[in-house]
Amino acid sequence: MSKLIYILLGVFFLFSCRKDLIENITPFEFNAPDYFPTLHYSFNNNEVTQEKFDLGKRLFFDKLLSSDNTISCESCHAQVHAFADHNVALSSGVEGRLGFRNSPTLANLAWSPSFMWDGGVNHIEIFSVAPITDSTEMNETMQNVIDKLNADASYVQQFKEAYGVNEVDDQAMFRALTVYMMMIVSDESKYDKWMKGKTSFTQEESAGKDLFEQKCSSCHSGALQTDYSFRNNGLDAVFTDLGRGRITLEENDYGKFKVPSLRNVALTYPYMHDGRFFNLRDVLDHYDEGIVASETLDPLLTSGIPMTEEEKDAIAAFLETLTDYELLNTYWLNQ
């Protein structure tokens, strides 16, 4: 009898050293539906672990990242608003200073090839430098942030457990924040349930989907409703914000902004880079009859997108199916 126990234990220990078996039982990993586009972020240098995620989450909610300890990432990217700001056009940083563009949702960033409305940031890992150091956002220096984290023994311990570093450094901090943000995957909307064959659309939603595909999907394409391109969608004749042109310095790019994903669009109002439209109907009206001509206006919009009021109702009903209420209630994304 005791011999049998030894053999069983031996077999168990043998297998416990096999990496593939350990990985198969890891309860915490990055997952996404197969109908999503090709993943952009490579986890090669930054595999998801529970320790990294927990650290990233702590940092995401920590106001220590700002100069006067009043603003955290979550201040402008709140779970109840699908990780966009609290329905304000522009976000308030330290001392109530206003930024100059609307805070977008952070959901599904793992698929995004560039960041910011103008695509100026080329990698999610170094995205966080911008809000941390911007004088109208967190207004802090990277050195101060790292010093504050190193002064907190519990952070030092957590960084060691997550990244094996003896001292907090910015690379580990950025990577931890990245793991948290990558895990914000919105894939439980009614649209997703329909994609998985678990539910059906109402007649209006179904009509809206067809109209959306005819009228909107050349830019808002694919399962995330964006082709990630930069386009001028006819907001202004004179550009107070050069958009993509601010980055490339090419006149050809003036007034162009990134086509946003429409996931959770019903929750993330106001809309456009400056938050000028407060409801979805205003946006649809803009495409129908509000397009303003300019040098860089997208050729697809020269005559606008004509829609009847009934068609707008149907498209709005379809856009509502992109709302992911489960994302708002995912307990493990919360503090």
């Binding site: 234990l9 240098n45 940031v121 170094i126 690379q171």
Partner: protein, 269 residues
Amino acid sequence: MKTIKFFIPLLVMGTIVLSSCRKEGCTDATAVNYNEEAKKDDGSCEFVGQGAVTVEMSHVWGMSAAPFDLNTELIHPMTSDTMTYSTFKYYISNFQLKTAEGTWWTHPESYFLVDHSAPASLNLSLSGVPEGNYTDIRYTLGVDSVRNVSGAQSGALSTTNGMFWSWSTGYIMVKAEGTSPNASSGSFSFHLGGFSGANNIVTTKEHSFGATLTVTKSNSPKVMLSTNAARMFHNYGSISAGSTVHMPGATAASLADGFYGGVNFVGIQ
């Protein structure tokens, strides 16, 4: 007694299995006894036949190689601008040494931020150089495009060094700031960078020693380079026409071209 009999072998087995999961050995890929399977370094790494080379940077002002320093009034030899620098920093990276046999040895993770206010940063230490004779040196002024597009970096490339543009990703590869009565604002601030297309300022340079640099375990020779800070304005001219550049573009490229032309080989020691 029966229970003890049971537990002792169990304990021994557990310990063996546990330690076998974290295989120990040399984990440094540059060591001769590098063990690919080792997860934990046991201090057994052996580095046979390696030495170090120090690249010593010196900063000068103008063709006459007048001394350059911060917080000192300098007259530009070509534009006659009066300039007092408060900051003078730049990246130099990707060092390679050419062996007498004609092959290039590449220094791994070769990124240095030279900061005039920190004298130690002017001595760039290349470790792990294989013993042998070398005839040429090659290096990159700036930070190669790969490191500008690969996310969070560490060491000299950490964002804590303040040499990084947050709103339009990329390294500030050269930073020169100070005051000048010739600038309309009274101060100058040149932040040069750009790693793609026409805005690329990343420049590779190569110098022949004209002699042989011998590296042994006990001998750590020096390669001396000099940087002429004044040469930044070689193409650009007087800062009275503009004293702030904070983004990549044609102006930054012209300033960088002038500046990088002023980095030269002095000798070996």
